[in-house]
């Protein structure tokens, strides 16, 4: 393992003065605990996944690796369930990220007003963030129950037909997205709020002097000032959405993501390949595809952000 080499490598240069050696090496001593464990349990697995993905490795005999070349990848690309999971990851990602960030932006704007009980609102809004994926999903799965769920009860009491929040494709994807949105909206609102508070007050004053309405101020002062923060949250949420796992796993409690895989995500597909079907090599290939997807999306985000910056100026 690369354990000690990374941590000590840069220290190899000899010190010129006697006694200076200790001083020169000391900084590496401060880094050693972090980089030692980081190399062993962070970096090594990260890189080794690529190697594993080129082999047949089964869960029960994970010591044994048979070379396959790119077979895991070609098999993946010809598996309809992979494409299904990819599509679901995309639709659930959009369904959860877009409303979440828009609502967070609105809430942050309100939280930025002078308000009584500001701290209370902020803490209350962050509460969902404190729950685990498991707890949140179990509660929501109950609320979304087909026959006795509270949401269908409310719907039927206002005359809407009950929805099958688990078996129906769109409804189940909406249900999973609702859990994600519930957990992260308040968190993102606080991130936006932090960004808003770093916008100089004078900008608002001069906008007001120029006769800008509240909406115009929001549009022309707040949004441009928040751009780096918005790009940041979009990137982070995109990464989060790509990895979505716990919510679809526990929504009905199986790794298939619903009877007809209607809400199986890539994260869940990876888990199913590795720990339900025991194909660790294939799971590693899925992991790499997910990583490439994230890199692609990050580059896309960056390109869009750069483009918008240019057209604005």
């Amino acid at each position: 393992m690369a354990l000690s080499s990374t941590a000590r490598l840069p220290a190899a240069k000899p010190a010129k003065r006697p006694g200076g050696l200790r001083r020169r090496l000391a900084p590496y001593g401060f880094l050693a605990p972090f980089f030692g464990l980081f190399a062993a349990f962070g970096l090594f697995p990260l890189l080794y996944t690529a190697w594993v993905s080129l082999h047949r490795v089964e869960l029960q005999t994970s010591d044994r690796m048979d070379w396959l070349g790119f077979q895991n990848y070609t098999r993946l690309l010809s598996d309809p369930f992979f494409w299904n999971a990819l599509r679901n990851t995309f639709t659930i990602g959009v369904l959860s990220t877009v409303p979440q960030l828009l609502m967070a932006l609105g809430l942050a704007h309100l939280l930025n007003y002078k308000l009584r009980g500001r701290t209370f609102f902020r803490v209350a809004m962050l509460m969902p963030y404190a729950t685990s994926v498991a707890a949140a999903t179990l509660v929501f799965a109950q609320l979304f129950g087909r026959d006795y769920g509270l949401i269908n009860w409310v719907l039927s009491s206002i005359g809407v037909n009950p929805v099958d929040w688990q078996a129906d494709t769109w409804a189940s994807q909406f249900g999973v997205s609702a859990i994600v949105t519930w957990r992260w909206t308040g968190y993102n609102a606080l991130i936006y709020l932090a960004g808003m508070q770093s916008i100089p007050g004078e900008l608002y004053e001069s906008a007001a002097v120029d006769g800008a309405s509240r909406w115009q101020q929001f549009r022309h002062v707040t949004i441009p000032g928040l751009r780096p923060t918005i790009v940041f949250t979009v990137v982070v949420s995109t990464i989060g959405a790509t990895q979505l796992f716990g919510e679809p796993l526990l929504y009905e409690g199986n790794s298939g993501g619903g009877i007809s895989h209607q809400y199986q995500t890539l994260g869940l597909y990876l888990y199913e390949q590795g720990w339900t079907f025991f194909h660790l090599g294939r799971a590693a290939a899925v992991a790499w595809v997910m990583f490439l997807l994230i890199v692609l999306l990050a580059l896309l985000n960056a390109a869009i952000a750069a483009r918008r910056n240019r057209t604005d100026r």
């Binding site: 880094l31 349990f41 090594f44 697995p45 498991a134 799971a283």
Partner: protein, 299 residues
């Protein structure tokens, strides 16, 4: 594993979370009208309702939950359901396990991050830029990418189903290092470190008696965020642990997966699993909010 992924591009405030929230008040552009309050109260209700519902469902019987008109107030069965949950899914053991894992991980992350963060913030050495870039760069990489080899390592070390399998990979966090670096760059004046050096103190001595006291507020915030994230961690624990020796999250999974899960028992388990974090939140909510606004942890 770094379950922590990202950081705001703003530097951490020098004065720690609490003082910060107050000082910014003057910048708020406008007073909120009744509409603002109405929307915020609505959002608060939406945020809090599932917690209330958990309590309601956990204190009712399963037959009450599967009736045409659901109960909207807490019932009398809370302790009975909690007892059932404790029996069905080793929840007692799971709570203890989670407490051990989260505490050890928090101590490890805070200590290793403060050490490394100090080195990155205030010491000059070869390879500093490259090592810091490496640390920050890996924060964006999904944990799934490393899970398979990590699992193979754990099997090889014969740690499967044992607590070290979830502790070891989490003991350090790239986010933590970055967070402490940002904090110390601002909070720790160079002169203070220099003064210590002039007095002939060793770096370790300087760290103990100068850096640690200054770093404490940042360490506290990092500690809270790490504890919460570790307590709530799901993906790696369900891979590494079994339902015989679970953390709370793993136990919740098995509770929800019986052949005919008793919903009120499932909710009772959920309530127990969530309660500790909610208590932390009730006591330290303001500081946690400050911490999130400074930097960010995502689980």
């Amino acid at each position: 594993m770094t379950h922590v992924t990202q950081v705001l591009d703003q530097p951490a405030a020098a004065d720690g979370g609490q003082a910060r929230a107050k000082g910014r008040r003057a910048r708020s552009p406008l007073h909120g009208g009744p509409l603002a309050y109405a929307v915020l109260i609505g959002a608060t209700l939406l945020a809090v309702f599932p917690f209330y519902w958990t309590l309601v469902a956990a204190s009712r019987s399963n037959s009450e939950l599967s009736s045409a008109t659901p109960a909207l107030t807490p019932g009398p069965n809370l302790f009975h359901n909690i007892g059932e949950a404790l029996q069905q899914a080793e929840i007692g053991k799971a709570l203890l396990n989670s407490l051990i894992v989260a505490s050890v991980v928090t101590a490890g992350v805070v200590l290793s991050s403060t050490l490394a963060g100090f080195a990155f913030a205030k010491l000059r050495f070869r390879g500093r830029g490259a090592l810091l870039a490496l640390t920050v760069g890996t924060m964006m990489i999904p944990p799934q990418l490393g899970v398979i080899p990590l699992f193979m390592v754990i099997v090889k070390l014969d740690l499967q189903n044992k607590l070290p399998s979830v502790i070891l990979p989490s003991l350090v966090s790239a986010f933590g290092v970055f967070f402490m670096r940002q904090y110390l760059v601002q909070a720790l004046p160079d002169e203070l470190v220099e003064a210590g050096r002039m007095d002939g103190a060793s770096l370790l001595r300087i760290f103990r008696s100068i850096v640690l006291p200054v770093a404490r507020p940042g360490m506290a915030v990092l500690g809270m965020l790490t504890f919460m994230a570790t307590w709530n961690d799901f993906f790696w624990p369900i891979v590494a642990l079994s339902s015989q020796n679970p953390t709370v999250q793993v136990a919740l999974k098995s509770l929800g997966q019986g052949y005919v899960p008793d919903q009120s028992v499932v909710m009772a388990g959920t309530l127990i699993g969530t309660l500790p974090v909610l208590v932390v939140f009730a006591l330290l909510g303001r500081q946690i909010v400050g911490g999130i606004m400074q930097g960010a942890v995502k689980g």
